[in-house]
Amino acid sequence: MMGWNSLYMFAMVSIGCWLTAAIMALANGKRQRNSVLVSVFQFTGIIVLSVFIILLTVGLQRPPLQTLGEIRLWYAFFLVIAGWITFYYWRFSWILLFTTVLSSVFLLINIFRPEIHHQMLPPALQSFWFIPHVILYMFSYALLACTFLIALIGLIKHKDTYLQASENLTVAGVSFFTVAMLMGSLWAKVAWGHYWTWDAKELWAALTWMMYLFYLQYKNYKKNHNKTAYWILIVAFVCLQMCWYGIYYFPSQHQSFHTYF
């Protein structure tokens, strides 16, 4: 039966493909030449990892969405997709290398420090809302991670395309974030009786969401370039880390409805 012990084989092939794509993209620079080949390599890696996820789902007899290790797997998966979207639309030759390195780190953590992957789904998570809620969150996190990378690079060396790209990616990321968050609130109504309870996870989700809305409002208010917009994106991404796993390192996590493990 397919399990976590075969991840290293799939991960090595995927990382190899993504690295080849990233190096080709860097070598091409802004030229369009070989961009199809870059996409082919990128997608081969993505398909190989999808095959692993499908086989793992079959092996576990449940969607792999429960442990932190499983969520890391999805994050690595969506990050390379988000990286490819950014590369495809804005031709940032460096973005693929960044997303490849980040995804590889997540996959390697899963290989060398496997979490306990034998837990079964607790009753609260057995819901129709669970899969779209988590997957949409992961995809939005990945898009917003790209905006963070662009903001970091933009702070060091600004280019006008960075502003446009980060704003577009934030709009896409926030859209997914909103849908995921509101699906969570609809689910909470069915599971616990209230749409919103202000527990630590929900507070940070709302805070992160508002922070990105603050960024979009700020961009709408001040259309010209200034470094504040980049800083807001960086702070918003720090908030996102708090929302994702940061809160579990603080004492208030014990009161959270979102602590299952």
């Binding site: 837990q119 926030v174 859209s175 507070l203 603050f214």
Partner: protein
């Protein structure tokens, strides 16, 4: 040592600026006033149930009226940018949420905190702060609604939805009752307790027939369910309530919260505003989807917000 020197220099710098009249006293005054107001408001606890229907409906209309007056007169005739005020309102909401999270760590602050801050969501500061956000959101909607084009739908759906969900969610709380009922197998009850320990009568009786529990091979729980009967004079219904599958009767939603071997805890929620908030949430969902489809295009230069 270095930090203390820096701090000292910073204070000296501010004092020099004040001496040279380079700092606007008006701004310092405003900041001090806002800080004092915040501290004062945070010490006032509001019992939300005081504003139960129809008072909350009037308050809702009042919010609309304030937004309308602000949009029609204040922002039009005075040089105050709506976008700037909305940024300020978002900043206030962000600060309030961060403060709320800090106050989640009650065990750390337990000796210092006044008891009113134990539930920050009931303090006047939190409520007034969010009402300010709702009013500014209303102004933004009223301003934006005047220039309607195809790309404006994302804006309208998301903003109106958010306004509806926030205002109905907040003011609707006045009519919401969250009760807990402890049930023992083959016994029925006709009352449940509020979070403050007050017993409230239910318009029906609930009887626990049986608890059903399933475990995985590893020993971790797989499913809980409570088989209950609801009575008025005779048995009205016999239902299976489990986590994620509540049962609704006469506007009361019954959720299984805990299950033991022959006891269970039901959470009973009475929420007459649930559909209003639901419409708001669906509207924001549609707005977010449209926003993604249109991408950046909806953020046109002539958005009518200035």
């Amino acid at each position: 040592m270095r930090i203390s020197i820096r701090l000292y220099r910073c204070i000296i710098d501010i004092l020099m600026k004040i001496r040279d009249n380079r700092v606007a006293y008006k701004q310092i005054g405003t900041i001090v006033f806002l800080l004092l107001l915040s501290v004062g408001l945070s010490l006032i606890s509001i019992d939300i149930h005081v504003f139960s229907f129809p008072i909350n409906l009037f308050l809702l209309l009042l919010l609309v009226a304030i937004s309308f007056v602000l949009e029609s007169y204040v922002f039009r005739y005075y040089v105050v940018s709506v976008k700037k005020m909305m940024l300020f309102a978002t900043f206030i909401a962000l600060c309030l949420m961060f403060l709320y999270w800090l106050l989640h760590h009650r065990m750390i602050f337990s000796e210092i905190l006044p008891s009113v801050l134990y539930d920050f969501s009931t303090t006047a500061l939190f409520i007034v702060g969010f009402l300010f956000f709702i009013v500014m959101l209303g102004v933004l909607i009223l301003r934006g609604i005047k220039v309607i084009n195809k790309q404006k739908f994302a804006f309208l759906f998301s903003h109106i939805g958010l306004w509806l969900a926030l205002s109905a969610g907040m003011l609707g709380q006045a009519d919401v009752y969250t009760l807990r009922a402890n049930l023992i197998e083959n016994n029925s009850i006709s009352y449940a307790y509020t979070s403050k320990g007050m017993a409230m009568d239910l318009p029906f009786k609930v009887k626990l027939n049986k608890i059903h529990t399933e475990y995985y091979a590893t020993g971790s729980p797989k499913a809980y369910a409570a088989h209950v009967s609801v009575y008025e004079n005779d048995v009205v219904a016999t239902e299976r309530i489990s986590i994620n599958h509540p049962y609704r009767y006469k506007g009361y939603d019954m959720y299984l919260q805990k299950a033991g071997t022959n006891t269970c805890v039901l959470q009973i929620v009475y929420d007459p505003w649930r559909y209003v908030v639901f419409v708001g949430i669906i509207s924001v969902l549609m707005g977010a989807m449209l926003c993604f489809i249109h991408g950046i295009k909806y953020r046109t230069k002539n958005d009518g917000l200035e």
